[in-house]
């Protein structure tokens, strides 16, 4: 196949003036050493500027605090001074913060299975045969993802309000029941999760559906000729074949879900206390950074959250990385 001879381009070649570097080695080894760095450079540089530098700044901020002299009013009364790790001490001792972490975990445990289950279900249904309304269904199920979270939460918030709720009025009309208190201490998890499911299923469905569409059709034809019905094909053939995509989607959804902020924040004021201002870890960060104006404590909390998530995800990503990218040049 390939020989280990070096190839030099003729000067005025069809492919332009770049000289191909001599290839070393055997097999399908890709050639130049610098090129991959050129390809990934824009992303890496932007990443450093947009993520790493601010992250470093956050770490720095987490080691500072405010010092107040006198009443604290007037010029020079406030100073930023070094605080060592005292902010972290505060974070670890803050019961409210850890409660919010627990709530985020509970929220995730509710949201992820439901959302992924629905996304997989709809993706399979959209890919199946003899199902009607598929084209319309694809657009319809994706559409909530296109609604800004703020607006979506506002809409659902209004639908949860007792006096307004069309859900409750329908239930009342049909079954004569009082109506659900969507903001009750326990139910509120489902209520907020519902907003997340509604807004996020479409996205995950599209990712899985795209994976399904890329599967070779030959595998099903054999099964169909053997007499397998659609459900069996879906569960026994398609689902295992898109397993890497499902895992990937699950991981990314988990990461996004533990960072939940938009939905509970958007409805917390109208939620009769069902959603407090520190309901999730990021809401606590927001409260401490913006409302309490303590960016140093907020920075420490952010770092703690980020580290927790890193520990949680790094191991899983390593394992699944091999499964997903196994076919590449290693």
């Amino acid at each position: 196949m390939t020989t280990a001879t070096s190839v030099h381009e003729p000067a005025a070649s069809l492919t332009g003036a770049r000289r191909v570097r001599p290839r070393r080695g055997r097999g399908f080894r890709p050639a130049p050493r610098r090129t991959p760095y050129t390809f990934v450079a824009p992303a890496v540089l932007l990443f450093v500027a947009v993520f790493l530098v601010p992250l470093g700044y956050t770490v720095y901020l987490s080691t500072q605090k405010t010092q107040v002299s006198g009443l604290g009013l007037g010029a020079g009364a406030r100073k930023q001074v070094a605080a060592g790790f005292s902010n972290y001490g505060t974070v670890f001792g803050d019961g409210e913060f850890w409660q919010s972490v627990l709530r985020a975990v509970i929220y995730g445990c509710i949201l992820i299975p439901i959302m992924l289950g629905l996304a997989t279900l709809f993706a399979l249904v959209l890919d199946a045969q003899r199902v009607r309304f598929q084209r319309f269904g694809r657009l319809a199920i994706f559409l909530p993802y296109a609604v800004p979270t703020l607006i979506g939460s506002m809409i659902w918030g209004m639908m949860y309000l007792p006096a307004f709720s069309p859900i409750n009025s329908t239930l009342h009309a049909l079954f004569g029941i009082q109506g659900i208190n969507f903001f009750g201490q326990r139910i509120v998890f489902l209520s907020v999760a519902n907003i997340g499911v509604w807004g996020g299923t479409g996205f995950n469905m599209m990712v899985l559906y795209t994976s399904l569409r890329s599967l070779p059709q030959e595998a099903y034809e054999a099964a169909r000729l053997d007499g397998a019905n659609e459900r069996q094909i879906a569960l026994r053939i398609k689902l295992p074949m898109i397993r890497p995509a499902v895992i990937m989607t699950a991981i990314f959804s988990t990461i996004a879900t533990l960072q939940v902020f938009n939905e509970p924040y958007a409805i917390h004021q109208i939620s009769y206390g069902g959603v407090s201002t520190t309901w999730t870890p990021l809401m606590t960060v927001y409260r401490d950074t913006y409302t309490a104006n303590n960016i140093y404590l907020g920075a420490a909390e952010s770092i703690v959250i980020a580290v927790m998530m890193f520990v949680l995800s790094a191991a899983v990503l390593r394992i699944t990385n091999r499964q997903i990218f196994g076919g590449e040049a290693k």
Binding site: V7, T15, R18, R29, P30, P32, P36, Y37, T38, V40, A43, V44, L46, F47, V50, P54, L55, Y57, T58, Q129, R130, V131, F133, R135, F136, G137, L139, A140, I141, F142, A146, P148, T149, L150, G152, I155, M159, S169, W198, M206, T210, R213, S214, L215, E221, M241, A245, I255, L282, V285, S302, M309, F310, S313, A314, L317, Q323, G326, E328, A329
Partner: protein, 290 residues
């Protein structure tokens, strides 16, 4: 080419098939669930504030045109400025993001180099850091270099998308076979030309997906532009509608403006979706996602 043709590649003859009830029923339920709140917003946007209070939830009002005109007149038509801004941020940001992701994804997928694992993991770790956490430091740094309240302050952070890079790597691996690259190299094509002439076209359905997702993400982004911008005429729709909504707690008459504004802000996305549908072709090349 219709995206719906599934059986056409097989050997079985096409014959009329009956609808499968259970999956269709599931799909219909899903459609109802997805569309119900949107229909509610559509209907709500036709009502005046009084009608919002007094009419039943799904009973339409008669003020669609009046609400539209009020929105149009609000602050001298600033709503349309918001929409243009959003198109700029989302369109420009998504295109640049797709380019950067394509480059990086192709690079990670098709080459072997020493820092590959480290760099890729580093970028993925970036996804673990939530926007809320980064927003203030980003703002402080941007202000220090004097770029606060500019279009760039919103555009540049929107370009980098770890998820997009991840997807791009996936699609590059799935749709660009190594054999073709080797053949191109043997023909003497430079890496860059190979990428442009071969890599990009083969990755294009995946790139459209990345573009679309990043477009929607930027379209819906709130926190970053809200912090970075202080001039109303640079606001995107999310920030503008939030300002309206917040003002609406003390001037409830503005609620109807928010509702119709929300409806109008969804429409371009639907349009985009329709336009880009035809790029979602079935074949992603010979390889499959294992």
């Amino acid at each position: 080419m219709s995206i719906l043709t599934t059986a056409s590649q097989g050997m079985a003859p096409r014959r009329k098939r009956r609808t499968s009830i259970v999956p269709t029923g599931v799909l219909v339920l899903g459609i109802v669930y997805a569309l119900l709140p949107i229909i509610w917003v559509l209907i709500a946007s036709t009502k005046t504030t009084t009608q919002l209070d007094s009419y039943a939830a799904f009973r339409p009002g008669n003020s669609l045109w009046a609400n539209f005109q009020t929105l149009n007149a609000y602050q001298g038509g600033v709503f349309w400025t918001w929409m243009l801004n959003t198109a700029l941020y989302a369109g420009g940001g998504a295109i640049l993001s797709a380019v950067v992701s394509a480059l990086a994804g192709y690079g990670f997928s098709k080459y072997r180099f020493r820092a590959k694992g480290f760099l890729f993991t580093m970028i993925l770790v970036g996804m673990l850091v939530p926007a809320v956490v980064l927003a203030i430091p980003q703002y402080l740094l941007v202000a220090k270099i004097g770029l606060a309240d500019t279009y760039w302050a919103v555009l540049i952070p929107s370009i980098i998308s770890p998820y997009g890079i991840y997807l791009a790597r996936l699609y590059a691996g799935a749709s660009v076979p190594d054999e073709i690259l080797e053949a191109a190299r043997m023909d003497g094509s430079s890496e860059w030309r190979t990428f442009l002439r071969i890599g990009i076209p083969m990755m294009s359905p995946g790139l459209v997906t990345i573009f679309l997702f990043q477009f929607v993400a930027i379209w819906n982004n709130f926190l970053l532009p809200w912090l970075m911008l202080s001039s109303e005429n640079k606001y995107p729709l999310t920030v503008g509608l939030f300002t309206l909504l917040d003002a609406g707690t003390s001037q409830p008459a503005l609620y109807s403006l928010v509702l119709i504004g929300a409806v109008l802000s969804i429409l371009p996305l639907i349009l985009l979706f329709f336009l880009l549908q035809r790029f979602w072709r079935v074949d992603l090349g010979a390889g499959s996602v294992k």
